[in-house]
């Protein structure tokens, strides 16, 4: 899934998201410690690390989903295209339309497949009429590789799909709002290997248009889908670099211990 050509290209692309000295507290717990990272556009970046290391927390900082948790406090600078996303003038709702998110457990709305995908475009006013909305829904479902399975049952409930289909529906829902960044929080952890393969293939395709960040517990998955990998341990970013290098030639002994299965 990776080849040198793409890697060279991505290396030249601009930085999409930049984090500087980010600290996150849950109440008194220091969950993220001084994380600085630059995430490139049109690249799949994987966050790996043992459970509780803060990778999901950091992911949720990027679209300010942590705002919904009362006791959560974020410090430091995170920019999207050079703009501070924690600036008081930024409306998190507008930010989330630009930074889509796919969650660990497939969570389609208990509505029809069509309404699931159409919900985002509807509330953001992306379609002027029904025909445009239909087009957005079809495109999103096609890009999420769900169109062929779902086109005849658009009005049936999204919750009636299989787990893998549901997750692809959630991806379709996320890309329907035309985001610039797609955050995926362990999107395959509830899926079987076949569904996982489908979603991974999809992630690889999405890379052509988006900056994708994927949190995963599976190092094989990180190796398969990502171009760059960040290893988190106990709230700190231990090592960040090209996936190939991280997995073949880690600099930090903790990274090596994790990828060889000695910690985690």
């Amino acid at each position: 899934m990776k080849d040198m050509l793409i890697e060279e290209r991505t290396a030249m692309e601009d930085v999409k998201i930049s984090a500087k000295d980010v600290n996150v507290w849950y109440g008194d717990t220091h969950a993220i410690k001084d994380v600085s990272v630059e995430i490139k556009d049109k690249t799949v970046t994987a966050f790996i690390g043992p459970s509780g290391c803060g990778k999901s927390t950091f992911l949720r900082c990027i679209n300010r989903m942590n705002d919904t948790i009362d006791i959560c406090r974020v410090e430091g600078l995170i920019t999207l295209d050079g703009q501070d996303i924690y600036d008081p003038k930024v409306d998190p709702v507008q930010l989330r339309a630009k930074v889509g998110m796919v969650f660990q457990k497939p969570n389609p709305f208990p509505k029809s497949i069509y309404d699931n995908v159409a919900y985002g475009p509807r509330i953001h006013g992306l379609a002027r009429n029904k025909a445009e909305l239909d087009e957005i829904v079809e495109n999103s479902l096609r890009r999420a590789a769900l169109w062929n399975e779902a086109k005849d049952r658009l009005q049936s409930p999204g919750t009636g799909l299989s787990g893998g289909q549901q997750q692809r529906l959630c991806i379709a829902r996320a890309i329907a709002t035309e985001p610039e960044v797609l955050l995926m929080d362990e999107p395959c952890s509830a899926l079987d290997p076949i569904a996982t393969a489908q979603v991974e293939e999809l992630i690889d395709e999405l890379r052509t248009s988006y900056s994708v960040i994927i949190v995963t517990h599976s190092m094989q998955q990180a190796a398969r889908v990502s171009q760059r990998t960040a290893f988190f341990h106990l709230g700190s970013l231990v090592e960040y670099g090209e996936t190939d290098r991280i997995f073949t030639n880690p600099v930090d002994p903790r990274t090596e211990a994790y990828i060889t299965g000695r910690i985690g």
Binding site: M65, R96, N107, P110, Y119, G120, A174
Partner: protein, 447 residues
């Protein structure tokens, strides 16, 4: 009590049950038995309750009538002979009473029934005191009837009615000043002739309360309207206020000491005796806001206060039970907090909210104590409210208050009506619940 069954040694067989397992199984069997006993006892009491209600209440749905041709004497009812409605109204029920007594005497003579009574007036205890009013109302409605002999279906008096239903016996009549055994003989004879009949008592369901001396005329219809208007007020106020308060507290309010205090107090309010809400309503709605006394509007407002905690508690519970992943999903595609609540969380919580609302309404429907304090208990309304505004503002009672009122009246005929009223109250409640179940089905969604 951990799973230490295999701890006794290596030689244990699967086919012999060891002591600990036996003990555990015995405990389980005992517990099941307790459960079955508990359910049996409660079922038994339910059967006794329903059986008693139906046995005591059903007679209220039957009423005795005397079918009687009454000659409407023009000389007495319309002295001027011009059928002018204003003149006709001047003749009160006292003008009609003797006519009806006389008609009964004539009819008894025509049928050849022998009685010891010599005066028409002595036959009066057979007839309801409402008879004159019934005839007068019909005459006023159609003055053409004057001068003709018209057949009326007149209520029999409550004693005669009770005699037909077995409530009044010849023994009890011996101690009764208003009626004597000769009247009962005559009632037997009239029944044989088909003049005195028992029929279904629509007036009990649709009618208004009557004075103490006319239990045969009393109906629950008007107080049912009172209850209906009160329930409308409760629904209109408590559902939006309760749901809005719950959504705010559950989804928007910050978690701090002040909001915790509010939460605790709402739970406490649900346990406050209802009569306290009654006195609050008296102080606030009647003495301070000067809303009319005894009005279903005020009753509804008081019951709204009482119902709100129930609705808020159940709404918050059902909002809480909506999986957080749905909120995340909505926020994740860029919905605002309010959009995520109103588009996704609320529809999913709707069945639970409806259930809570219906429980609250049912509680409010059966409440009597707070109504005592705002003047809705007693002999209040003898007429239908005229229009919707009057329905809310005219003095009225409510079904449970009406039942309470009947139960405390002296005449045993009212006792029977109290039981009958309970049947209607339960039917009213069941209708409400069925509507709620249908609505619930409509809103229910799987996820």
């Amino acid at each position: 009590m951990t799973d230490a069954t295999s701890g006794s040694g290596g030689a244990s067989s699967l086919f012999t049950v060891d002591a600990l397992t036996r003990k555990r199984n015995a405990a389980e069997t005992r517990f099941r038995a307790y459960g079955i006993i508990a359910i049996t006892v409660s079922l038994l009491f339910l059967v006794i309750l329903l059986g008693t209600i139906i046995r005591n209440g059903m007679p209220a749905f039957q009423q005795s009538f005397i079918t009687l041709p009454v000659h409407l004497d023009a000389a007495k009812l319309d002295k001027n002979g011009n059928r002018n409605p204003d003149d006709l109204k001047k003749v009160t029920t006292f003008g009609y009473g003797p006519l009806i007594d006389r008609a009964l005497e004539v009819h008894v003579a025509e049928l050849g029934i022998e009685t010891p009574f010599t005066k028409a007036k002595e036959l009066n205890p057979l007839l309801s005191a409402s008879a004159a009013a019934i005839v007068r109302d019909q005459v006023l409605a159609s003055p053409d009837l004057i001068g003709k002999t018209v057949e009326f279906r007149i209520l029999a008096s409550s004693r005669v009615d009770g005699y037909l239903k077995g409530r009044v016996t010849r023994d009890s009549v011996a101690r009764d000043k208003s009626i004597n055994a000769e009247h009962l003989d005559l009632a037997d004879a009239l029944r044989k002739e088909g003049v005195l009949t028992k029929g279904f008592n629509w007036d009990f369901i649709t009618g208004a309360d009557a004075s103490e001396s006319r239990p045969e005329q009393a109906g629950i219809g008007v107080s049912m309207l009172g209850s209906f208007f009160m329930m409308l007020v409760v629904l209109i106020f408590s559902l939006p206020i309760g749901v809005a308060a719950s959504i705010y507290l559950e989804e928007f309010a910050a978690k701090n000491r002040f909001n915790d205090l509010i939460e605790v107090n709402i739970s406490n309010l649900a346990a406050v005796p209802s009569i306290v809400f009654g006195i609050l309503g008296l102080a606030v709605f009647i003495q301070f806001a000067h809303l009319p006394q005894s009005a279903p509007l005020v009753g509804g407002l008081v019951l709204t206060l009482m119902t709100l905690p129930t609705i808020i508690i159940s709404t918050r519970a059902s909002l809480k039970s909506v999986p957080p992943s749905i909120r995340d999903a909505a926020l994740g595609v860029g919905a605002s907090k309010m959009q995520s609540v109103f588009h996704h969380v609320l529809p999913l919580a709707m069945p639970g909210i409806l259930t809570g609302t219906i429980i609250g309404l049912a509680q409010a429907l059966g409440e009597t104590a707070p109504l005592l304090l705002i003047g809705m208990v007693g002999y209040i309304a003898s007429n239908y409210p005229n229009g919707i505004a009057e329905g809310f503002l005219n003095p009225n009672s409510a079904m449970p208050a009406q039942i309470y009122e009947w139960a405390k009246r002296a005449d045993p005929a009212y006792y029977e009506r109290a039981w009958g009223g309970i049947i209607i109250l339960l039917l009213f409640l069941m209708t409400m619940n069925i509507i709620a179940i249908i609505l619930r089905r409509k809103f229910e969604r799987r996820w």
